[in-house]
């Protein structure tokens, strides 16, 4: 027997050859077709705001923050039989973090259902644990090391087309913001497990804005 993909055929068990045309077709088909309205509302909104932004630019530079988002998930899991807590803790938790250089990161954390089989009890427990968590007391030193290592190979550099071409740098504030989000997530999962629940069927969404975003983008 033989396996066939596109225009190539090989013996079964041997590597399947994908010819150039097939690969090109697959890559083209994989292009996400965006629901980009013809008016491009976001473009108009941005263009309209630009004049105002120009006038406010110096202030914008001063207050611009790092923007990021994290989704930490524990994957899908079987539904538990434990009932939902009475109190609704599903609202995002807001937190301001002062990082080591004195900058501030403004973050929100929220636990949401995730996976093919969400676990309402575990989700409720996670949301309650987050609501009661003393985020400022968390030790993030190990998480900083983890995040720093994880993103070290993501740093990109190369010859620019012109001497003054700028390169982005990872926001240093964001490293600590991400580290804190990991610590929050781990603390919540620990609490969920302590209650005898499974840490699955939910995920944590985090967004943050830090003070050094502008310099990270512009390389100044």
């Amino acid at each position: 027997m033989a396996g066939q993909v596109g225009g190539a055929t090989t013996d079964q068990g041997s590597p399947i050859v994908i010819d150039d045309d097939t690969l090109d077709a697959l890559l083209a088909e994989a292009r996400p077709e965006i629901t980009h309205d013809s008016e491009c509302e976001a473009c108009a909104r941005t263009a309209g705001a630009r004049a105002e932004q120009r006038a406010r630019w110096p202030r914008r530079v001063a207050i611009a923050g790092a923007a990021g988002a994290v989704v930490l998930s524990v994957g899908a899991g079987a539904a538990a039989t434990v009932g939902l807590p009475f109190i609704d803790h599903s609202a995002p938790v807001e937190h301001t973090q002062t990082v080591s250089n004195g900058d501030q990161c403004y973050a929100t954390y929220r636990f949401v259902a995730d996976g093919r089989r969400p676990d309402p009890a575990s989700l409720a427990a996670a949301q309650a644990a987050l609501a009661g968590l003393d985020i400022d007391s968390l030790d993030i030193s190990d998480d900083i090391t983890y995040v720093t290592d994880e993103y070290a190979d993501a740093d990109w550099s190369g010859p620019g087309p012109r001497p003054d071409f700028f390169y982005p740098a990872d926001s240093l504030d964001s490293v600590e913001a991400q580290a804190l989000s990991r610590a929050v997530y781990d603390a919540v999962v620990t609490e969920v497990r302590t209650q005898g629940l499974r840490n699955r069927g939910f995920s944590m969404e985090t967004e943050w804005k830090c003070d050094d975003f502008e310099t990270a983008i512009t390389g100044d």
Partner: protein, 186 residues
């Protein structure tokens, strides 16, 4: 050039390219709000650097996409996605429409996952070339790398994609790509 003339040039270049850049950001970031925010950052950053804007419209377009690539890369790095489901949904804002394409949706998912799994410098090159329609030379300019490096990286990316897409997926019941079996002729 006067400030007014520079401003006019910037407005023209921005007007000509904003929709395409928004599409690029939407494809890369998935979430419309993230894309809109990134678009704002692109234009704001570009405006701040508009004195570096190349006078040639095509070169200016590539320069703007270079800024967009930098902005989205910074945002993309800030994301940690542990959930394959979330990753798929965020990278594919129109998952519901994919059944209309020629290949089965799981094959298209496999291709997107394979691109996502590429080292970032290779994946971005593939996306710019196949999704945004830039030549390799143009993509090289956008990514601020020599054209020869772009060609080498692109070839490496295609090799990796072939290797990934032909490998059996141990975690799924169905093959990564649609495979039709037949009796060999020899």
């Amino acid at each position: 050039m006067t400030d007014a003339a520079e401003s006019s040039d910037f407005d023209r270049v921005a007007a000509d390219n904003t929709a395409d850049i928004h599409g690029y950001l939407l494809r890369r970031l998935g979430d419309p709000e993230d894309a809109a925010e990134a678009l704002n950052d692109v234009l704001l950053t570009a405006w701040r650097r508009h004195d570096q804007l190349p006078p040639d419209p095509h070169a200016a377009r590539l320069w703007l996409f270079g800024v967009a690539a930098n902005v989205q890369r910074n945002q993309h790095r800030a994301r940690t996605r542990r959930s394959a489901l979330v990753r798929r949904l965020m990278s594919d804002p129109t998952a519901r429409n994919r059944e209309a394409t020629g290949h089965p949706s799981h094959a298209i998912d496999a291709v997107r996952d394979a691109i996502e799994a590429l080292p970032s410098e290779l994946g971005e090159l593939v996306r710019l070339h196949h999704w945004e329609g830039f030549s390799l030379a143009e993509a090289a300019t956008i990514l601020a790398i020599p054209a020869s490096t772009a060609r080498t990286r692109y070839a490496a990316a295609r090799r990796r994609l072939r290797d990934t897409l032909r490998a059996p997926d141990d975690q799924e019941a169905e093959p990564t790509l649609p495979i039709q079996h037949s009796v060999p002729t020899s």
